[in-house]
Structure formats: structure tokens, C-alpha cells
Symmetry: C2
Subunit: 411 residues, 2 copies
């Protein structure tokens, strides 16, 4: 592994994904290491959104639902995402937010396991997963018990009362990867279902839901899928469960015949039954562009580069700032998502100083600075330069001047 | 009331809202009478979306949550909508879809009325309202009973078991207006809460939630608020209820401190607690433009023109096509929303023939042709010309050639 900038530039020249960087808008002077929180803007999205607004909405008006294909966007985008996560095209649909989709699937899973009331999950992961489970528990009262256990106790926590295991595959803060296949098999051995949150894994690491035997999944459209701020999320339901799966959010777009305007709810036959309200077309159109770019990239090359970028950053930071940061991410790239997190008591100020220099990562309480490496647009030289900036900030004490101005960022 | 085109043109010249038409893109040759289903494109939205995409997302990247004010868009848009529906700025927030918001508020209302299990509603209205209630009932089992009664039986159906009255203020098909103040008072007299769906009333008729004493409300962003296809919806909760109101969809954006990333859910103090996932910024930005235009219009002028356009259309159709259509909407403009519906056994083909001529309304099974009159961009001459096209289609039998090609349209 090279440690000088010229060697990094050579890696970029040999990068089989190098051409993809040009598909994104990255401003001069910006090193964007927060694609795990909000993916960068694909250049094609500008034109596509202008077209959706002016030609489709402005020109077609209500006819756009048919003539512009709006009505099938959730399925089309879902099919594209399916190709990234080891699912069949008819097992994934784009809809609502990750949080709303978690609610749908967690409640639906409970109904698939009558007589079982326990949901097993872990503490300290991305909060909305746990918040949603608390909402489910509070709504359903005694019918639900949350069993919250540390990662190393998950297997023992699965028992004959367990309806569902809900885990995030890649930890939002540390990047630690759960073994989806093994934990899903353990859940199944206990008679439970497994629901995976892919928010930090879809588009970032190899995900193969069907090979792992996963039952249900949700994920985020605005991180590695580059769908834009607050992009629609997605959900997956294995085909074998779809006929029995009922969404508690039984809105009209999940109806078997939404335009018949009948009084009685009858769920659509397939994954469409998990839709609820009218799909957000502007967001769906943007997400379709992002997913389309990711779908054209070789998945093995994406993962290989992701690991290499993370390894490079860890090595550079540890060599240039020895003893100053605690690595919070797995050192083993195979066990790590496409992000690297370091701990430092002054992490917040250090990240502000980096951002002031155009090196955009983010901070997570209490002390974590987090760097995401989106392989489609982050270069080896970016990693080199980011580490050099970090060293300079630490050596000069520049972080002490950092302005405490941002309220926070959306993961 | 004049019946020749010149007189209609004179009405347009005197129209105090005439200037607003230029704020919208309406293609030459199109008479758009479906703004009750999908509002027209505001010209300013093109530039605003281009700016959100290129400058805010592309340029600011993750920083946009703060620097571009994305994080407060739901509140800002909600405050704008509040000004249209007789609510305080902190009583309304833009979020999710109408269907999802109905689920949140219906379940939250049940919790506010412990010991009561009945939700009273009417059949035959826009289906998603009823579908969502069926989902709530199925999820909560014996804790909920739906009491579905014809409109003239609503008052008698409210009793000591009633937790909630849920009604759509303006009927999606006929345009009939419910008396919100009277029915809310009746609900309160029975000890129940009242939840109003404003999808076909916000921006179309005078809505005064607080004067009516309404407890809760939801509504649609893509009809008269011109927010674009699948725009975010909104919800209202009277200030007196907010501290007790709990959303079952307890996602991270409804948390008191979403960026603290703590494990335990604690709802935000105000209306923000009804947020769930990350807000859809592209849709929110477009909705903000539409709401902003509507907020600049004089509400009394909007309602007066709405009634005049509907009256004119009814008169023209009945005089030019005598005995051919059955008026499904209230004849009294005071009792009618901003739309007029006629019944005809060949309604579907007739509407297709109209659309082929650029007169865009829509069809609702089994026999209803529906015409919406968005007062900001529909002119008196448009109404005149639409009626003339309808007469010509009926006189010539042109509707018999209409192509049966569209699958349906989104209300």
C-alpha cells in the first residue's frame, strides 16, 4: 500500500470505477466523505428533475400518472434496488421513509408469528429503528415485548417467544457488519423472522438477501443510492411471505384496485400491497437516477474499492497522527462497511475544522468523527488529502478555532 | 350571469385574481379542470427545484440541512398551510402522505379517549380514509370498532363509546361540503374528537379549523396547494392536544433531540412530534412554492370565484345539453367545494373525448365526470369553452370514438 500522493494518484488511474466520478457533481475544493449520510448529486439528476417538473408535471399534468409512468415508479425503482441487494425485482418497492417502512414490516412480522410477542434488537444503533419499535410496543400494548441485547448476546436471546429479529446490517456509527446469513439462520432456527435495515449497506457492501434467507428488509434512498435529501426509502419482502403480509398502513396505493374507489380494502397481490399513500414523484425520479448509476457499477469492484479506501485512511491517520485517535471501526475491512470512525474527545471541533477546509465528514456524539467512502466518487487522492488535512489540523491546533455552528447532520 | 363568451372574457378582466394565472404553466390549448386531482405547475417551481438540486444538494451537500434550512422545511411549509386553514403556525406540519398522517392521528386520537373504541365515519368517500381505518382496526383488534353511517345518520351515531369522528370536509366525488363547526360540536357533545380530512378543501374553500373547534386534521399537498405529484401531505393538531398526542410512528424526526442519537424515544414538545422519518426535501421545496402562491391570494376572492365558476359551468351545461346529465354536486354553491360533477352512463367515453380536445377533467366510477375549478388559474372563458366542447361532443356523438386508453387518475 503506497503512502505518498503520487501512488494514490496511480491507484486512481487504475481504478475500474474511475469513470463514475464524472457522473457526480463534486465542487472544486470539496473532499466529500459523507456520502454515507447524504449521497452526492448525480449530474443526470439535474436534467431529469427539470424534465419531470417542466415536461411531465407542467405539460402532462394529471395525465403524467399514465403517460410519464409515474404510477409504476415505486416498482421500477424497487426493481433497480433489488439488483443491488440480492433480491428479485418483485420483492422490493420504493416507498415512504425508512422509519415508516420499519413500522409496516415490524407490525406485519408480528402478525406472521401469532403467539410470539418478542422482538429482539440491539441498543446503540441508528435510533429510528429502536424508536419505531418503541412506538409499535406502545401502540400494541401487552402484545409486544422488546428484548434489547448487546450484539454478542443476540443468538442467546432468540427463543420460542421471539417473533422477529430486527438488526441494522452495518452499524451507522462504527460501520461494523453483522453476519446476515448466520443471524438469519439463527432467527429461523428459533422460529422467528429476520428484518434487516440496509440503510448503511445498500450500495456500499455486498448484500445478498435471498442467499442469506432474509425475510424482510428496509433501507434508505439518500445515502449510497444517491437519491437526494429525504429520498424515498425502500422495503423488501421475500416472495414466500408476500401473500400473507399485511401492512397496517393500508392506504389506497396498496389496494388491489386503487382506482376502483371501492369501500373495502383488499391488498394488491404482490409487494405493491406495502405501498400506502400517493408516491412522491419528484423524489422517486431523483432516486431512479441514483439507483441506475449504482446498478451500472460492478458490485465486486465497488466493494473492493470501498475496503481499500477505508484501509488506506486508517493507515494514513494512524501513521500521521500516532496515538491521537481511537479506531471505532473494525480494522478488518471484511467486517467493516464503507465508512471509518475514529474517537477523539475533541471530535466535534476537529470535524468542524475539517469541514472548514472542505473535507466533509460528520460527527456523532459523544466523540466520533465519521468518514464515509462512496466508491463511485471518492478517489484515493481524496483519502490522502483528507488525512493530510487532519494531520495539519492536529499539528497546528487549528481545531481549537473551529466554530461550533452546525446543529447536526442527517445520517 | 352572462352566457356568451365575451361576457365571460369581461369577467376575467374584472377578476381580482386574474394576475395569478400567470404564476402557473398552462400549455396552449389546454383547459385544465383537474386541479382538484393534481394542481398545475407554478412557474417559480422550475427555478426553485433547479436551485434545490444544483446549489443546495449539489453544492451544500450534507451541510444543506442547516445552510439551506432543509431541517425546518416541514415547519415552514406547515406554517404557510396553517394560514390557509384557520390554524396557528405551530399547529400544522408538512409530512408523509395523507394516508400515513391519517393513521398517526386516528391511532393518537384513540389513545386520547381511553375506554372508547368507536370511530364514526361515512361510506363512499375517498377510499384511503376508510382503508386506513380498516388497517387501524385490524391492527388493534378488539380495541377499535368502525361505525360506518350515511351522512344523515352521523349525529345519531355519536355516543358515549365514540372516540373519534373522521370525515372528509369536501366529498371527493360530489364536492358536497360537511358543516365542520356543527359536526365538530356534535362530536364534542358526545365526548369524542373530530378529525377532518381537508384534501379537497385546503386552498379551495374557506376552512377555519380553530373557529370550528376542530381537534385534528390532515390534507393533501398536490391538489389545490399545487405542490406537485405526490407532494408531502400535512397534518394539524390543535395546540390544546399536542402535549398529550403521541404518534405511533415514532421516528427520529419526531424526537425531542433527533441528533442526540439516544436510545429512548422522547417526543418533541410541539407539532414536530408528529414527524416520523427524514423529510422529503425535493417535494417539500416544491410544496413551499405552491403554498406560498396560495397564501398571497385573498381567501374571500378565491372562494367567491370558485363558487362563480361552478355556478357558471352548471348553468352552461344544463342549458346547452338539457336533460343529458345528472348533477351530482350540490346546486347551492355554498354547499359545494371547488368542483362540479355530472353523471352520465357514458361518462368515461365523454371524458376521454374532452381530454382529446384538451379539456382535462377526470372520471370517477361508475358514471361521474368531474370538473375542478382552481380559482388561481381557471378563467371564466375556460369554463365557457369547456361547456362548449362538451356540447359539441354530445351533439356530434364524438364521444363514441373516444379511445379507452387511460387506466385512471390520481385524485
Amino acid at each position: 500500500m503506497p503512502l505518498d500522493r503520487a501512488a494514490c494518484a496511480a491507484l486512481d488511474r487504475d481504478d475500474p470505477l474511475a469513470e463514475f466520478r464524472d457522473a457526480f457533481e463534486i465542487a472544486d475544493g470539496v473532499i466529500y466523505l459523507d456520502g454515507n449520510s447524504l449521497g452526492a448529486l448525480p449530474k443526470a439528476t439535474r436534467q431529469r428533475l427539470a424534465d419531470v417538473v417542466a415536461r411531465e408535471w407542467g405539460g402532462e399534468l394529471i395525465r403524467g400518472w399514465n403517460t410519464a409512468g409515474w404510477i409504476t415508479l415505486p416498482q421500477r425503482v424497487g426493481a433497480g434496488i433489488a439488483s443491488l441487494i440480492g433480491a428479485e425485482a418483485d420483492e422490493v418497492i420504493a416507498a415512504d421513509s425508512t422509519s415508516v417502512n420499519l413500522f409496516k414490516l415490524a407490525t406485519a412480522a408480528l402478525a406472521l408469528r401469532p403467539g410470539r410477542r418478542v422482538i429482539v434488537t440491539e441498543p446503540g444503533n441508528f435510533p429510528t429503528d429502536f424508536y419505531i419499535l418503541q412506538g409499535v410496543r406502545d401502540l400494541l400494548g401487552g402484545r409486544v415485548e422488546l428484548r434489547v441485547v448487546q450484539p454478542d448476546r443476540i443468538e442467546q436471546a432468540l427463543d420460542a417467544d421471539t417473533a422477529l429479529l430486527l438488526l441494522t446490517q452495518v452499524h451507522y456509527k462504527t460501520g461494523r457488519i453483522h453476519d446476515m446469513a448466520r443471524l438469519t439462520a439463527k432467527a429461523h432456527a428459533a422460529g422467528a423472522l429476520a428484518l434487516w435495515d440496509l440503510s448503511h449497506s445498500a450500495g456500499a457492501i455486498d448484500v445478498d438477501l435471498n442467499a442469506a434467507g432474509a425475510d424482510l428488509a428496509v433501507g434508505c434512498g439518500y445515502k449510497y443510492l444517491n437519491g437526494g435529501p429525504g429520498a424515498p426509502a425502500f422495503l423488501y419482502a421475500a416472495r414466500r411471505h408476500q401473500a400473507q403480509l399485511r401492512s397496517p398502513l393500508s392506504g389506497w396505493m396498496g389496494h388491489a384496485a386503487p382506482f376502483a374507489f371501492g369501500d373495502d380494502y383488499a391488498p394488491a397481490p404482490g409487494i405493491e400491497r406495502m405501498l400506502c399513500g400517493t408516491p412522491p414523484i419528484l423524489g422517486m425520479a431523483a432516486l431512479e437516477i441514483g439507483v441506475g448509476i449504482m446498478a451500472r457499477a460492478d458490485r465486486r469492484a465497488v466493494r473492493a474499492k470501498s475496503m481499500a479506501l477505508g484501509d488506506l485512511f486508517i493507515r494514513l491517520v494512524e501513521e500521521s497522527c500516532p496515538g491521537q485517535f481511537i479506531l471505532h471501526s473494525p480494522r478488518d475491512a471484511q467486517a467493516r462497511g464503507s465508512q471509518v470512525s475514529f474517537g477523539h474527545p475533541e471530535g466535534y471541533a476537529i470535524m468542524q475544522a475539517l469541514i472548514a477546509r472542505g473535507v466533509i465528514g460528520d460527527f456523532r456524539a459523544p466523540d466520533v468523527i465519521r468518514f464515509g467512502f462512496a466508491p463511485l466518487y471518492v478517489r484515493y487522492v481524496d483519502v490522502y488529502d483528507a488525512a493530510a488535512h487532519l494531520k495539519d489540523i492536529m499539528d497546528s491546533g487549528a481545531w481549537q478555532d473551529a466554530v461550533y455552528q452546525t446543529r447536526g447532520a442527517v445520517t
